[in-house]
């Protein structure tokens, strides 16, 4: 993810921000269009929509009527245009299981996913940065070594297995924390949130920690590398020579320079965190979008699958665009390149 961000900036060279932005937007539109085509072809050519969309109990006459009503007798390109029109209007069919518009079913699950993802990002910041600072300032201490070894595990262990172990230890063996569901929720702004109640908050701890694990490792390593790079630099030595207290040197001078990569990574990883919540939500039975899509795939609830895929691609193209813009705005090297 980090590399792709840098690589994407690399081809900025020379052209102005406006041209670049337009090119990015066109590219984003193409990606979304390509996705609609892939999803449409996947559903309509590889699978047989007649079998999926029409009840098997229907007789021949009913089938023919349904085929005509759904437009399945039309040529493929016409069907695709129809599908595209539906996407633009936000009409992606009704869920077979919930008997509601697919988009609405998904949007209802969005807050649960966002809540979990934001909690995970917060954990990774508030655990990762201090741990990385410590490991960077005392690189040879045993705790630092343990933290670094732990971060390798955080990178390489499949997160679903870590989730199972969290359940096994903290929910089954120790019985400290609940392991499934959102717990008690409280309405705020028309949406139910878990973090507002004590019970809901306790329910969030295990899944959010599980989801945060990868990012904690990543941010810890980034911070450590940043500290190790900054400590012997001239500006830190100067700040110390001035007689500033270590707390101020680290808190202001070192931190400022660590924040650029960390902020970028946090931005980039928000999308990944949302994607990986598919796994975490399934393990902890957290009723978000991720669990919904897995359930829908298993129940062959096609409208939900299609709507979810379209929505998540849109979300990702959006996040990538914003991160690119932020990157161009934050990194002085990119700005300088544009001034030529």
């Amino acid at each position: 993810m980090l590399h792709s961000g840098i690589a994407r900036v690399a081809w900025l060279g020379g052209s102005g921000l406006a041209t670049w932005l337009i090119r990015r937007l066109i590219q984003a539109v193409f990606v979304v269009l390509a996705m609609t085509l892939i999803v449409f072809l996947g559903v309509n050519v590889i699978g047989n929509p007649v079998d999926i969309l029409i009840s098997p109990e229907a007789d021949a006459q009913e089938r023919a009527r349904a085929i005509a009503a759904l437009g399945l007798d039309k040529p493929l390109w016409e069907q695709y245009l129809r599908f595209l029109g539906g996407v633009l209007k936000g009409d992606l069919g009704r869920s077979f299981v919930y008997n509601e518009p697919a988009i609405r079913v998904i949007i209802q699950r969005l807050p649960a996913t966002m809540e979990l993802a934001v909690a995970a990002v917060l954990i990774s910041i508030f655990v990762g940065i201090p741990a990385g600072l410590y490991a960077g300032l005392r690189p040879n201490g045993w705790l630092s070594r343990a933290l670094m070894a732990g971060s390798i595990l955080g990178f390489s262990l499949p997160s679903f297995w870590v989730g199972l172990m969290l359940i096994m230890v903290f929910a089954v063996q120790l019985g400290w924390l609940p392991s499934t569901g959102r717990g008690e929720t409280l309405g705020l702004g028309g949406v139910q949130w878990s973090f507002l109640t004590r019970d809901g908050f306790l329910h969030m701890i295990l899944p959010a920690s599980n989801l945060a694990l990868f990012n904690v490792s990543l941010i810890m390593r980034l911070t450590r590398a940043g500290v190790r790079e900054a400590m012997p630099s001239d500006y830190v030595r100067f700040a110390r020579a001035k007689g500033l207290r270590p707390r101020r040197v680290i808190g202001v001078h070192v931190m400022k320079n660590i924040m650029i990569p960390v902020v970028t990574v946090v931005g980039l990883e928000l999308g990944t965190t949302i994607a990986f919540s598919v796994v975490t939500e399934s393990i902890f039975a957290w009723p978000g979008m991720g669990k919904l899509i897995i359930d829908s795939i298993n129940l062959l609830d096609r409208p939900i699958i299609v709507a979810y895929l379209m929505l998540i691609v849109l979300l990702f193209v959006g996040i990538n665009l914003v991160v690119d813009l932020m990157y161009a705005a934050l990194d002085p090297r990119v700005r300088l390149e544009e001034q030529g």
């Binding site: 993810m1 690589a7 996947g42 199972l164 598919v278 796994v279």
Partner: protein, 313 residues
């Protein structure tokens, strides 16, 4: 009296320098020695080879054929580790809900996990490296098109790409491998292009081009072998990633079919019993998965250090 030849004098004055003929040391041997300097990596390699061996000979050493329904006894279901079944068989690490010996299940599961992981890493490696090499060698529009595709691919998280493919195509070993290849090829392409760009300015490529060798020959016989080291390192890590991702997908019920349970599916089967304290059905396949992934990563880490010329002291 003629003076003795100059070199005779020199030879007398200086004892013939013992020609420290660089002992005939093949590159492979040198690599092996350097690799062995890290004991953890050696442990990783040994464990990895052991796992591979177990997977290969599973039908010969497994206490039970977990697919043979005739030997399964539902009465032996969910026995804890160390129990003895109805017919006197001993289940070292317990049984699953079908009365299947977990140890045998894991051995057979390893076969599928490793096959899917290594197979997809290899296919992705061939496709990705070829595209990357071709991009570096051809340059121009083709290169920017390939690299744009790589950037695009890498800006989507792996799990999402796999999810899209499996949601559209449905589950099955072939589809899982396709998904893994789609997720991984970009890493190889980027690495191959990077090292090919550095290599193609070297004299030997120029020499090969001067000999008017065909493009394919220059790329595959001259360029490729010299770009291999970083690709091998990427391949090792990608194999571990593929195994982990396959396990994740199978755990979610999107991966391999129930008839061919990989480690991920074994873990999923035990998940529902975990809450009632019957931990072993999920726990031991998980440990097997863990050991596999960590040992491959250890090997990869050391390979990266050994094969990277910049890190040479």
């Amino acid at each position: 009296m003629s003076a003795p030849p100059l070199n005779a004098i020199v030879e007398k004055a200086l004892p013939a320098p013992e020609i420290v003929a660089p002992r005939e040391e093949s590159p492979a041997r040198r690599l092996a020695i350097e690799f062995a300097q890290n004991p953890m990596a050696v442990v990783g390699l040994v464990v990895m080879l052991l796992i591979l061996l177990v997977a290969l000979v599973a039908p010969l050493i497994a206490p039970q054929n977990p697919y043979d329904l005739a030997v399964l006894d539902i009465m032996d279901g969910r026995l804890p580790p160390g129990s003895v079944g109805g017919e006197g068989t001993r289940f070292v690490i317990g049984t699953d809900d079908q009365g299947r010996d977990m140890l045998s299940g894991i051995m057979y599961g390893l076969r599928i996990s490793l096959f899917v992981g290594a197979g997809s890493a290899l296919i992705a490696g061939i496709i990705g490296s070829s595209l990357g090499l071709a991009a570096a060698y051809a340059g121009g529009r083709f290169e920017s098109a390939v690299m744009r595709l790589v950037d695009l691919q890498l800006s989507f998280p792996s799990i999402l790409v796999a999810l899209i493919i499996l949601a559209v195509l449905g589950k099955g070993i072939g589809n899982v491998m396709l998904a893994l290849v789609m997720v991984e090829w970009a890493y190889y392409a980027r690495t191959a292009r990077g090292s090919a760009i550095a290599e193609r300015r070297r004299e030997y490529i120029e020499a090969a081009e001067c000999l008017a060798l065909s493009r394919a020959r220059v790329v595959f016989r001259h360029l490729l072998p010299n770009c291999l080291p970083p690709l091998i390192v990427v391949g090792t890590f990608q194999m571990a990633r593929a195994i982990a991702l396959e396990a994740t997908l199978s755990f979610l019920g999107l991966g391999v079919p129930v008839t061919e349970p990989s480690l991920g599916l074994l873990i999923a089967n035990g998940y529902q019993y975990m809450l009632s304290g019957k931990y072993w059905i999920s726990f031991y396949p998980g440990i097997a998965l863990l050991i596999t992934i960590v040992s491959i990563n250890l090997v990869g880490d050391q390979l990266r250090d050994v094969l990277n010329p910049r890190l040479k002291r």
